[in-house]
């Protein structure tokens, strides 16, 4: 703003009618501080020595008065929205805890180690050991199945395929993420379950002596099938994040490896994978978080074992996860103590997914810094 104020006495008040009031309301007291408004005028062109010149009559800087009311309202709206979001999340934790506590205190069994779930009647006996086992086993198995495949796909998209081909393939992968989980559940129960049954049977006959692969009652609705479906469901997330991380590998690293005569695989191993490691780990954790909380697909697929049946540590057994247990019994939320027991299970799920997601974020931040 190099306009000099030479003649202050000649200052003219800018006419409000000239300025568009919707853009610059000048009729208020406060001044708009960072950007001074220049009072403008249309100088009459004058001919001096045959050359057309614009006469510059400096009238000085005019700081127009601009209303800050709109700004104040808008800023407080934005801040309110932000605070609302913060409160919302805090309330989730607080309310769940508040409603779970009475039931937890009335619980006759150890909440963490019991496999019972008797919430009807006056005596509460419930624990999360069985739910925790099924939830964690199915999710980790899903992660183990999904991550190698996802890394392969992400490498294929970034390092192997031409851009014209990788675009459509990426698109298909993103579509996979859009399929609602209930449809995966329906498909897993009616199509994939029967299809995987021979494979499960074969595995049981070969390595069934390991308790984890032991024979169980109903191989159709097993943790194994649920895990395969969960793996398919978390694939797109892991692929999308890994793809983005791999694509950011410094060009120089790749070219340096190529200049040393590395094959494509050696480029990947020496340049791309080390660069993307933290991103892939963080993506896997996010996928794990998604698998832990998945409700309806798991609920549809898993066969619920009879109350009080003995514990089988096999992936070919049925079971119930936190989410499927809550959803399965949603119709029975009639008394506060009963509801409290399910809310306690939901609280544990909330804490576990929160921890997994937090770890994912910490790893990602660390990777971004280094």
């Amino acid at each position: 703003m190099a306009v000099t104020d030479t003649d202050a006495t000649e200052r003219v008040e800018p006419e409000p009618a000239v300025l568009d009031p919707s853009i610059s309301p000048v009729h208020h007291e406060t001044r708009h501080s960072p950007v001074p408004e220049v009072a403008y005028h249309v100088p009459a062109p004058a001919k001096i020595d045959g050359v057309e010149r614009v006469e510059v009559r400096s009238r000085g800087v005019k700081l127009a008065k601009i209303s800050r009311t709109g700004d104040r309202v808008f800023r407080s709206l934005a801040t309110t929205s932000g605070l609302l979001i913060v409160l919302l999340v805090l309330f989730v934790g607080i309310f769940l805890l508040a409603l779970a506590l009475p039931s937890l205190q009335a619980d006759q069994d150890n909440f963490l180690t019991s496999r019972n779930w008797t919430v009807a009647g006056n005596e509460l006996r419930f624990g999360i050991a069985g739910l925790f086992w099924t939830t964690v086993l199915s999710s980790i198995l899903a992660m183990v199945l999904a991550v190698p495949v996802a890394v392969g796909v992400a490498l294929c998209l970034t390092m192997y395929l031409h851009k014209r081909v990788s675009g459509p393939v990426s698109f298909v992968v993103d579509l996979l993420a859009a399929v609602p989980s209930i449809i995966f559940g329906l498909w897993g129960l009616t199509v994939l379950g029967p299809f995987l049954a021979p494979a499960a049977e074969w595995l049981i006959s070969k390595i069934g002596w390991i308790p984890l692969f032991g024979r169980s009652v109903d191989p159709k609705g097993s943790i194994f099938v649920a895990s395969v479906v969960l793996a398919i469901m978390i694939l797109p997330i892991v692929i999308a994040i890994s793809r983005d991380v791999f694509a950011q590998t410094p060009r120089e690293h790749i070219e340096a490896a190529l200049a040393l005569g590395a094959t494509r695989w050696e480029v990947i191993r020496t340049a791309v994978l080390p660069h993307g490691r933290s991103g892939v780990i963080s993506a896997s954790m996010l996928g794990l978080g998604r698998a832990l909380g998945e409700t309806i697909a798991v609920m549809i697929i898993l066969t619920t074992p009879a109350q009080g049946s003995p514990f089988t540590p096999s992936i070919f057994a049925g079971g119930e996860t936190f989410a499927s247990k809550i959803a399965n019994n949603a119709a029975e939320f009639d008394s506060p103590s009963k509801t409290g027991a399910y809310i306690a299970a939901g609280l544990v799920l909330f804490v576990v997914t929160f921890a997994v997601n937090a770890i994912a974020r910490i790893i990602a931040d660390r990777g971004a810094k280094s």
Partner: protein, 300 residues
Amino acid sequence: MSATTTDTRLEFSRPSGVRTIKNSLATVFVTIATLITIIPLAWVLSTVIIKGYRLILNSTWWLQSQRGITPRREGGGAYHAIVGTVEMALICAAIAVPLGVMGAILLIEYGRGTKIARGVSFMVDILSGIPSIVAALFIYALFITIFGLGRSAVAVSLALVLLMLPVVLRSTEEMLKLVPDSLREASYALGVPKWKTIVKVVLPTAFGGIMTGVMLGLARVMGETAPLLILVSYAVGINFSPTSDTMAALPTMINAGRDQPPQLPGYERVWAAALTLIMIVMLLNLLARFIARVTTLKEK
């Protein structure tokens, strides 16, 4: 690399046998991985289309409800469920979109780097990882146990807000980041107040990206089932009132009929409902992608 050179003095020896084999194995691995990923999608889609296409070609599917239709009877449609799904998603969007956009404006325009922005950002991270069943339980705890209200479609919408909010907020935030500062400065230089700059310059520039986020968020909440199971009862009749305690939705329509044996007509309706749901969700996704493509704001 070496193929184009004509200089005979340069000797480019091929990599040794082991290295070549490893390289080929890696190529085979990534190819198989990609096929493994594409197969389930094709399989799911073809299953749903083959089992469900016959019913949705019929106009009654789109115009009638399931009132008075038993699993053993042919006929009826999914109109009641489509109404419910769309209505709950729209109520959810009416709350989540303003909240998400304003939250993103706070993060980018007003509070960049401040404590409150960091707090909001952290909470949105938590929210984006929250399982849908936990969101549903929270609304159950708040509305039904504490406020003493009954189950209703509005409660479902509120639970869906928790799931849609992070999607809208994050995509809006990314888009606002991409709006060049020169545009904002040009507006300030004309003396335009900040809020008007945001409303008239920043948001219109980022509009396409925000709409993409909204569409993706809508697609996500329409496919959610867990809140529906906990917060509203499934009904076979048409109901427009979001405050009544029963409302149908496509996911619960599928869930209600999933145990039927394949020989009953009701079985086919389950797959037709699945196909309808996929069509709606895919349409929203394609729309989101189309909007993202035609908008001028591109990654820097």
